[in-house]
Amino acid sequence: MQSAGPVVGSRSFLSKLKDGDEIARVVTFIFAALVVLITVLLVYELWVNSALARHKFGLEFFVTRVWDPVTDEYGALPFIYGTVITSTVALLIAVPLGIGASIFLAELAPPRMSDTLQFFIDLLAAVPSVIYGLLGIFIVVPMMRSVIYPALNKPFGFLPVFKGPSYGVGFFTAGIVLAIMVIPYIISVSREVLMSVPRDQREAALALGSTRWESTWKVVVPFAKTGIMGSIFLAMARALGETMAVTMVIGNTPTISASLFSPGDSIASVIANQFTEATGDLYLQSLIALGLVLFLLTFVLNGLARLLIIVTTQKGSKVST
């Protein structure tokens, strides 16, 4: 009796092995573990390969304005500034437009129409960034020079933001192109979040005598507020990390200027531009350190976005049940 236990056990293990269950479990586990391993390796490589720059500059990396390969001095400030400014401009344009559109898709449009429009929005999100850059160079840059710049510089030129000459390329141009690129993300996520708002919320507001817009703006949107914030964070993470389109229209000069028309540079664009020409070790590692900064920024924003979106959609399903 006592010796029967292990025999049965090993037999069932053998039969499992024969059916392939254990093999399948182990093989698929290896691939799943590979995903974790790759992610850890990515962080490790960024950390190790930027060691030289991290040790040499420390936290001063973030406040140094000089980026000079000749004297081997590197500071991230102009690029952080450029990334922040272009993303801010992008969000100022994209957020109202995106939220407006998502309200229309979730609240007003009949389901068929909403789905069709969402289909086009999904296609818009599939357009590669180099195509946006191409259109940016040949449409937005000339338009900036001949239409937008004169229209803003003449009446508002006294404001530091709209001062100075325009070469077409610059922070503002990059911001516009980025705005177009992140609108689909804001629309898709916000629409989903708005649609998860329980129906009775709307009906209660309408029954109390509010107009359609009042029920939308004062009841539905506040209900979905956190999720919409999530979509904005998501868009921000995309905008910060966007490389090609920005590189093609920002002008690629590390300047800090209050003027939106000034050419500049962003974290992603400087990496794209200088990585292959970076000769010295410190030069290369400073660029990788910039990559590390970018990684950490998007990591935090994406995490926040996911949290906010989950919280809102769960809130919706809890209330409705």
């Binding site: 586990f29 995903v35 960024l46 990585f275």
Partner: protein, 283 residues
Amino acid sequence: MGARLRWRKFVSNFMLTMTGVCAVVSVAILFFILTYLLFNGGTSINWNFFTKLPAPVGETGGGMANAIVGSTKLLLAASLFGIPIGFLGGIYLAEFSGPKIASLVRYSADLLNGVPSIVIGIFAYSVAVLPFKHFSTLAGAFALGLMMIPITLRSTEEFLRAVPSMLREGAMALGASKWRTISSVIVPAAYRGILTAILLALARVAGETAPLLFTALGNRFWSPGWGQPTASLPVVIYNYAVSPYQDWHRQAWAAGLVLLGLILVVNILARTILSRGIAVPRS
């Protein structure tokens, strides 16, 4: 009171119309991009574009045959690397894993999905270029494959989980082993969704430029084998667009049209025909 109500109704109608305008503007951007590309690219496309190598700098004419082949090779190798990891990893998450490991893997995949493409490029450079001391097709494919993993993994898991448990129980009741159940019942039941997601992932990385800049680099000639730098459509579009030559601009438009056309066709087919009746995940 009457005036107040009229005002409120006016505000309501006005704001609702504005949201409609926002939606129309957003969708119009897509059609604007399409017509502009068709107009500019359509006039620049010719037979040479598909069959000739790039002309020497300064000369007009030539084509992008090497970039088209290069992009194809990159996507092929990227699929061979990224899809198995994502697909099999996804099976593990849906069928074998406990909740703790699953959430760790899922978290890693989401993290990887959020990494900016230029940072993926740096990573691929440090593990697939630096040790070998030269740029190569394989390094570029490694970068693109990395970007395919999260989407493949998450959607495989999602679609496998969506298979009704009755199918699972039915197969088990017939005496099939767990692996047999997965391979001949569950995966076939979910394959359309998974295939859709994989196609969308492929379409997404097909347009990626930043991860290729310092992995596959670029090449004005053919790139035999897998160990040499190779041209690719997105990188050529970038290089040509920022160049000062008129003829290169023309070719950039043509390449843009071809690239966007392929990406949109795959998207439309995957989203309409293949995924009919399934909720497609958003990238």
